[in-house]
């Protein structure tokens, strides 16, 4: 088995953390849409997310530091990013970090059909939303009624 440059690029990107939620990498979040030697294609999570600029800069630095200085970074809007693209590994990392991961397959319909978040600390589903908006665009504020801990929930998007 040969290790290709695409594999090497993937390994480099797997080490680039999200600046707001450093527990997960840009790969875990599904921000990276395409990888080849010429260009890495990324997509923003939210149009106004301030992390977007930081993410591009961090990817640039990682590529340069690992001998991929000639690999460009392209940004695409379409298709729009969805939380369905967060990997299973990414979901586990979020939970371990104290953020309830978004349910899978909920996508855009989530607002009409909201299920209770599972408390990332005690696992109870006896939870309630405190605020639809939280500390970053991608998170909502929830509270666990079983263990009384407040927690962030990654919004379905």
């Amino acid at each position: 088995m040969t290790i290709t440059n695409t594999d090497r690029l993937r390994a480099v990107l797997a080490c680039v953390p999200d600046p707001e939620i450093p527990a997960v990498s840009v790969l875990d979040l599904g921000i990276v849409r395409d990888i080849d030697e010429d260009a890495v294609t990324i997509t923003p999570t939210y149009t106004g997310c301030p992390a977007t600029i930081a993410i591009e800069r961090m990817i640039r630095e990682a590529l340069d530091a690992n001998g991929f200085g000639s690999t460009a970074i392209k940004t695409t809007l379409s298709p729009p990013w969805s939380t369905d693209w967060i990997s299973d590994e990414g979901r586990e990392k979020l939970r371990a970090y104290g953020i309830a991961p978004p349910p899978k397959g909920a996508g855009a319909a989530s607002l009409k059909n909201e299920t209770a978040a599972e408390c990332p600390r005690c696992g109870s589903s006896n939870t309630e939303e405190i605020s639809r908006f939280g500390s970053t665009p991608c998170k909502a504020l929830w509270r666990c009624k079983a263990c009384a801990e407040p927690f962030d929930r990654f919004k379905c998007h």
Partner: protein, 244 residues
């Protein structure tokens, strides 16, 4: 400016001005959760504005980017609808403005996401997911304030009463809009239905019809927009070309 560039500018200006207005609440909202919510909505809107104004600049082809369009145009060159430039007033007035606009914007962007103009469709498909949260937030508050105390109800009625006269302008079509191909006027029945359903749940009457005030698309603004721009554009006016 050609028709599509004009459309991109209008979309960008609506989002930019409302985003700036909501940003004025930062640190002043009635509760921490509301402060976060309004700031998050503002961030989404400014993000959308960056994309639409960037597209407007490209289509115009005169080398202006999103920042140049946002910070170095004068008040009469802004093409936002009058609703979004209205003062924040009290919290109920801000919610009334958001309620009327976000439901329109959600319907508008959903239609635009199916446009044959791919660049517009891509931004719209992305933005509509965010705006779904805005209209839900505004609706929840209209219900909470309308079906709340005597004081909150009085304020919600007053807020809607002021903003109502600026609603019709959102649905006005002209030649530029026709070129983009989304019939805004046709969105009105669906908008009416959404607004009426929420008002009913909020135990509020629909404000009585009144003469619509328009002119924003042609650059005829209230003095409020000038005041907003003096604050928003100060840095680039005082230090042209300044960067972080």
């Amino acid at each position: 400016m050609d028709a599509l560039a004009t459309c991109a500018l209008r979309l960008g200006d609506d989002s930019l001005i409302l985003g700036q207005r909501l940003g004025e609440w930062c640190g002043h909202a009635p509760a921490l959760e509301v402060d976060l919510s309004l700031a998050n909505c503002a961030l989404d809107l400014i993000g959308q504005a960056t994309h639409f104004l960037g597209l407007a600049g490209e289509l115009e082809g005169k080398g202006r980017d999103a920042d140049a369009l946002a910070f170095r145009r004068d008040v009469m060159d802004f093409t936002n609808c009058l609703l979004v430039e209205q003062k924040n007033g009290d919290f109920a007035q801000t919610i009334a403005r958001q309620f009327l606009f976000s439901h329109f914007q959600e319907l508008h962007l959903a239609a635009l996401a199916a446009s044959k103009h791919e660049r517009f469709a891509a931004i719209a498909a992305k933005a509509v997911k965010e705006v779904t949260y805005h209209s839900k937030l505004a609706s929840d508050w209209v219900i909470r304030l309308g079906d709340g105390t005597d004081e909150s109800k009085t304020r919600m009625i007053a807020g809607l009463d002021w903003m109502w006269r600026f609603a019709d302008e959102m649905f006005v079509m002209d030649e530029a809009d026709a070129a983009l191909g989304v019939d805004k006027a046709a969105l009105k029945p669906a908008w009416d239905q959404r607004i009426d359903a929420v008002l009913a749940e909020a135990t509020l009457e629909r404000p009585s019809p009144r003469r619509a005030i328009t002119g924003g698309r042609a650059g005829h603004h209230s003095e409020q927009l000038g005041h907003l721009l003096t604050e928003m554009q100060f840095l680039q006016r005082a230090y042209p070309g300044a960067t972080w």
